[in-house]
Symmetry: C2
């Protein structure tokens, strides 16, 4: 691997001069030398060692993003927004997948700190786990104390900047819509119990119920993984234990798609016999049949805003900024009034 010294030697200049030319330092350098150095760079296919540069310059350049899983469309949309902004700022982004393991989340914060990340973005739901939350927060504070910026998406328990989607309001929108259509027996296909996203969305639903003089009982809610197969298994359970539901609220679109798959298998008409709703409005929500009624969250935009917050925090510095983002109900074909009561 060619080093700067090699280039300098070949061009017959000092490493200092070579460095100045290669990095376009403000210090003026004769044209002749510049040409010689550039030629040497070309001949040796020299690329500066980024680690050595980072060490010598002592200023951070990369940014880290911690997500549950980039292959989940929810996160890949967010990531797309993040990346766009990071690239505009000339930042390299390091993506870390926790696969929903809180332990890994902690590890990755250390790893990013070790790698001198300029900022850490935490995307995805928090966990209902006091101890974990405290530990994570402590680590983040240490990171911030040494000049790191942190922004979180979709959780609120940390000291950094935050972009908070209206999960609760979204849940309420869904609930209101279903009650308005006349549904009374609703089943909920929920994500993991310990995720704050799950409980926030559920709370919105509960509030809508209360406003319509009803309430959600525990029997109506089935918890499972926040993905297609979780949605499928929870729906199967629900159909077996609460066979008379007329609407199934899935707490994200992936689960809703799992629900649709099970309903299709069992030959249950959607929305004729059972209405189904999702949450997030991922791109595919339009393409399943029937197209999903869901709540839109501007995911890519949320990612972009979080990155912006992390990269150029608004005044006053060191005061966490919280940006709320609205949810919007998207009516499509998977919802309709309930069928006339067979009883």
């Amino acid at each position: 691997m060619a080093t700067l010294a090699d280039v300098a030697r070949r061009a017959g200049v000092s490493p200092a001069t070579a460095s100045r030319i290669i990095n376009g330092s403000p210090k003026p350098v004769t044209e002749a030398l510049r040409a010689r150095v550039l030629a040497a760079v070309e001949e040796l296919q020299y690329v500066p060692n980024a680690h050595a540069q980072q060490l010598a310059r002592n200023h951070r350049s990369a940014v880290g993003v911690i997500v549950h899983d980039v292959s989940d469309p929810y996160f890949s949309e967010i990531t797309r927004g993040l990346q766009r902004v990071a690239t505009e700022h000339g930042r390299l982004v390091i993506i870390c997948n926790t696969y929903r393991d809180p332990e890994k989340e902690l590890e990755y914060v250390e790893l990013l700190r070790a790698n001198q990340a300029a900022a850490i973005i935490l995307a995805g739901s928090g966990y209902h786990d006091e101890e974990f939350t405290r530990t994570l927060d402590a680590k983040l504070r240490v990171y911030q104390a040494t000049g790191g910026h942190v922004a979180v998406i979709g959780r609120h328990e940390h000291s950094g900047h935050a972009v908070i989607p209206a999960n609760e309001a979204g849940g309420q929108l869904i609930g209101a819509e279903l009650f308005r259509l006349g549904h009374t027996r609703i089943g909920v296909v929920a994500g993991p119990r310990h995720l704050t996203t799950t409980s926030d969305r559920l709370n919105g639903l509960r509030r809508a119920a209360r406003q319509h003089g009803r309430k959600l009982s525990a029997r109506q809610i089935v918890y499972a993984d926040f993905d297609r197969s979780g949605g499928a298994s929870a729906t199967a359970t629900l159909l077996d234990t609460q066979p008379d539901v007329t609407a199934i609220v899935a707490l994200n679109d992936s689960m809703a798609i799992g629900a649709l798959a099970v309903l299709r298998e069992r030959g249950i008409d959607v929305p004729g016999r059972i209405s189904v709703t999702g949450f997030d409005d991922m791109p595919i929500a339009r393409d399943v049949t029937p197209a999903l009624t869901t709540v839109r969250l501007p995911l890519a935009d949320m990612g972009a805003r979080a990155m912006t917050l992390a990269l150029q925090p608004p005044e006053p510095l060191n005061t966490p900024h919280i940006e709320h983002v609205d949810a919007e109900l998207i009516r499509r074909e998977s919802t309709a009034p309930p069928p006339p009561d067979p009883r």
Copy 2:
């Protein structure tokens, strides 16, 4: 930011000893000192500077992955497989999105080289561009010459290891299936012309046609972006210029989904009036209606294999290994025999 020297000072030992304890070096150290150092680490919340370590140790630890776009399910599946293997090997993976800009691909190779990546994985289609291909190859060779490993997925023009999906055979499978069903007027919704993936899949289709004594004319093929909206617009064009097609072959699932959307809008029955096929078998292919007949590529597995190849190249070293992966026809509900000829 606490440094190793700070820790050493606090524990009353030399930096050398501190380093040995923290990294669990083979050199034995008294238990008392170990405890003191570990305590200091804890108190100072010390995390070693990864760049300094990398510089001092002088051996590569990260691996880089260059993809078109992680938010595209095709790549996120591949990435999932890659990550799994990388994590098993304790490697940090740096994901780079080119957004299909060849220029960026070149830049990222440099960037990864600068960051001392142990391996570079190039995923995604190559480009039909002689000069670009040569330039890229030259860069990769330089990287390999300095001990870097490279593996490519889905292209064949480079000197590293390769995992090659049976794009052509897959195209042939689709073609054969359609001809077998009795289709004669087929339209192709293709990806960008300059991508090798497009031409490979098309060639398979052409071969199937030839075997059935037919051929594909240029008028039957519409090129567009390799995503949903590309699929939609190409399908619209096709329906306008070739209104009598009885089957639409989309060259990937995203495009097929776009095609289905347009057909649905126009009230055209699938597969009653027109059959539609995809390619890749992304998870959603089962969930659209009608479920897509497509060709399955084991994407996550391909990613895993590429990473394995890059991380522990099989003997003999320095000889590019090529692994071919099979394509499999998945019959679902989007294909059927053509309707009786109206003429």
